[in-house]
Subunit: 143 residues, 2 copies
DNA sequence: TCATAAATAGAAATGATTTCTATTTATACC
DNA sequence: GGTATAAATAGAAATCATTTCTATTTATGA
């Protein structure tokens, strides 16, 4: 029941080979309650692996993201960050622009919930991003 | 009462010099009901200006954004897009991933509003991004 | 053990964005 | 209408996060 066993199963289920580096990457991500850039993860992992390519970290994080294991954080600096959230079910995140900590939110609406959010995180809400993506009527028709 | 007069005043009020390129840039942005990359705007503007540097377009769009005249669109491809929305007041946008059209939304909550949004845009909602930014308790205290 | 496809390292390329510097331009004032 | 001045700009170059490439290594299942 050590975490490694869980990661092992996780990778297996995704049809990915269970490599020491992948296990370590998952471990690093789960320990951090913050979103990290691939380079930051790479720096942490290099302590344990004498040889480790940065592209490997990029590739693995992208892979895990596309399988829904970790999620991208949209940052206004347009750099790549990922966060591993163990909580399941639809929810949103409060992300600190300063220390990059991530906290789960139980609310989904925003404007009318700002007070509630402030109480929950005991911090300051400076802004929020709400963008709805999809296909407009025209494009949905064509495709 | 031509648009140029309005842009002229707009730039003046921001303390920016009224250059032909800035006026043309604003014009291009207002005509499009879609979000555009600086390079796309540059290509459009080059029709009217024999010499026009791409950095000039980047600089001006950034300037306008920081003054709140246009807004950045967070795209999952992490490229830079801007959109000029004439509507005032707090509201959100529906952005098409295919043709990049932008439509104003009158709703602010999401999950419980998806049906309503679908009706409004007459298209398909594939995902939404809701991220709350701020400073966590610790960081808010320190700063 | 072995064959095989997947994963990886390390070097190199990419390309959007930014920086730099000399030149041009808008503007305020006369 | 000139003129001084700071702001804006062009064009070239640099940056640098991210991606691509290729030869080598590794995990896996038979
Ligand atoms: Mn979460
Ligand atoms: Mn709008
Ligand atoms: Zn913080
Ligand atoms: Zn569309």
């Amino acid at each position: 029941m050590e975490p490694n066993t869980a990661y092992h199963a996780l990778l297996k289920n995704l049809g990915l080979k269970v490599t020491p580096k992948r296990l370590a990457l998952l471990s690093v991500l789960e320990e951090e309650h913050r979103y990290l850039s691939p380079e930051e993860v790479w720096k942490k992992l290099r302590r344990s692996f004498k040889s480790l390519g940065l592209p490997t970290v990029y590739r693995n994080m992208e892979e895990l993201e596309c399988h829904g294991v970790i999620s991208k954080v949209l940052h206004s600096n347009r750099k790549l960050y990922y966060y591993f959230c163990p909580k399941t079910g639809h929810h949103h995140h409060f992300v600190c622009m300063e220390c990059r900590i991530v906290e789960d939110l139980s609310v989904c609406a925003v404007r009318e919930m700002e007070k509630e959010i402030k109480r929950q995180v005991n911090g300051t809400v400076t802004s929020h991003i709400l963008q709805v993506n999809g296909l407009c009527g025209n494009c949905a028709e064509k495709l």
